[in-house]
């Protein structure tokens, strides 16, 4: 079985590019959804807010400056082909170097503190990034990357529902989380939902769901229908753009699911602001 050699520096430059690009250039999925929202919004304030968000995203792309000052904490889902060998350094270090270089050279905000409780001293380069790696067959490295702002991250929630809660319990928990978040997470939001697995698996699925383009659907039509139904219910809540009232509280709901235990039905809701920044590459 042939191995494939990849220089650590190639990984670093790929990661650096991902982070600079995602912070300057909003995805087509979000830009289209904002434009559609601006067309159907009944609140005048809401329409003004949406017009300003579209203008903001255009300015960011033109000037190559971040869309939002909160350039987030870096989270990467990596599928690492088992035939890949990294040369000239370690994979972990190569990724961290890419994030470091993007945040320093790209004029992105450094928002990470070293110790969460006692010191809270800024690491000054936005590392460490959070990296979830899965070993897969093949000789490629696939990276799905996001940068997560904490205005919306703080509004996320998880609950260990039990099977008797059923689909109604799932819906209620998700809607309660969005209702509690209200105007805080920079609506119109993207709602990432993870259902199943274990406590931490559900949260990881929810994060991964926020990184899926909002113009895609879950491939299981039952979950796809649930995504549509929840989006409709959320937009009836009336928080609207910037929480100042209106029809567009969410741009999309993405659900990911996984097998779970006979006794459980974990549900995690990871809320993302309208600046839902994500990107991917294959090395």
């Amino acid at each position: 079985m042939d191995i494939r050699r990849i220089e650590a520096s190639s990984v670093t430059s790929a990661v650096k590019k991902l982070y600079m690009d995602m912070n300057y250039f909003i995805g087509e999925d979000i830009m289209c959804a904002l434009k559609t929202a601006a067309e159907n919004e009944s609140s005048e304030t809401g329409r003004n807010v949406l017009a300003q968000l579209i203008e903001n995203n255009n300015i960011a792309a033109e000037e190559e400056v971040p869309i939002c000052q909160d350039t987030g904490m870096a989270v990467l889902f990596v599928e690492y082909g088992e035939r890949v060998v990294i040369e000239g350094g370690s994979f972990e270090q190569a990724v961290q170097d890419g994030v470091r270089q993007a945040y320093i050279d790209g004029y992105l905000r450094k928002s990470v503190v070293d110790d969460p409780v006692f010191d809270r001293i800024n690491t000054k380069d936005n590392t460490p990034a959070i990296i979830y790696t899965t070993i897969v067959p093949g000789d490629r490295i696939n990276i799905l990357a996001g940068c997560k702002g904490f205005g919306s991250e703080n509004m996320s929630a998880i609950k260990m529902l039990t099977p008797s809660a059923g689909i109604e319990g799932v819906k209620q928990f998700i809607l309660d989380a969005v209702r509690y978040a209200g105007p805080n997470p920079c609506p119109p939001i993207v709602v990432g939902v993870g259902i199943g697995g274990t406590f931490e698996k559900a949260a990881m699925l929810a994060k991964k769901a926020t990184l899926r383009p909002i113009n895609t659907k879950n491939t299981d039509e039952r979950y796809a229908a649930l995504e549509d139904e929840l989006l409709c219910e959320i937009n009836k809540m009336g928080f609207g753009p910037a929480g100042l009232g209106g029809d567009n509280t969410a741009l999309g709901v993405n659900i990911e699911y996984f097998p779970t235990h006979i006794a459980g039905m974990p549900v995690a809701v990871n809320i993302c602001c309208h600046a839902a920044r994500h990107s991917q590459c294959c090395i």
Binding site: L53, I59, C68, Y107, S111, G151, P183, A242
Partner: protein
Amino acid sequence: MTKKITLPLTDDVIKDLKAGDSVLITGTMLTGRDAAHKRLYELIEKGEPLPVDIKGEVIYYVGPAPAKPGHAVGPAGPTSSYRMDKYAPALLDMGLKAMIGKGKRSKEVVDSMIKNGCVYFAAIGGAAALISRSIKKMETLAYEDLGTEAIYRFTVEDFPAIVAIDSMGNSILVEK
């Protein structure tokens, strides 16, 4: 209709601002967020002087991104205000006149705003690149070691905001 207001805010101007009014703000304001508020609050608790005079000031809850060469400031949109709720009443009691941020405020903050005749403006979260065009100058005032969380003085021209909660306690924020 958009009202043009200049800083510092007078009590008459504050009384005239109603929840829902769109404003364009010109003048100078302070910045501060979580870490700076914590330090200010600890000084107030100990009865020690603050490194900046907050009387009559407006504070903008923001941690700007670094400025690119040739830019006065990097993208600088509002951060969530509720995290400053624990500290805000003490600052309002000391003469702070207005806050700019995004999202909900606690009952304690709103009560203190009514008592002290203060106003809370919402800037649009995530419109950071757009907002930064109205910020003409940025100087460091205190806590430089905090980096983005330091207290800066912003000089702004036609900074766009909306009166989210007025000095009577009326709010346009949608809450359930």
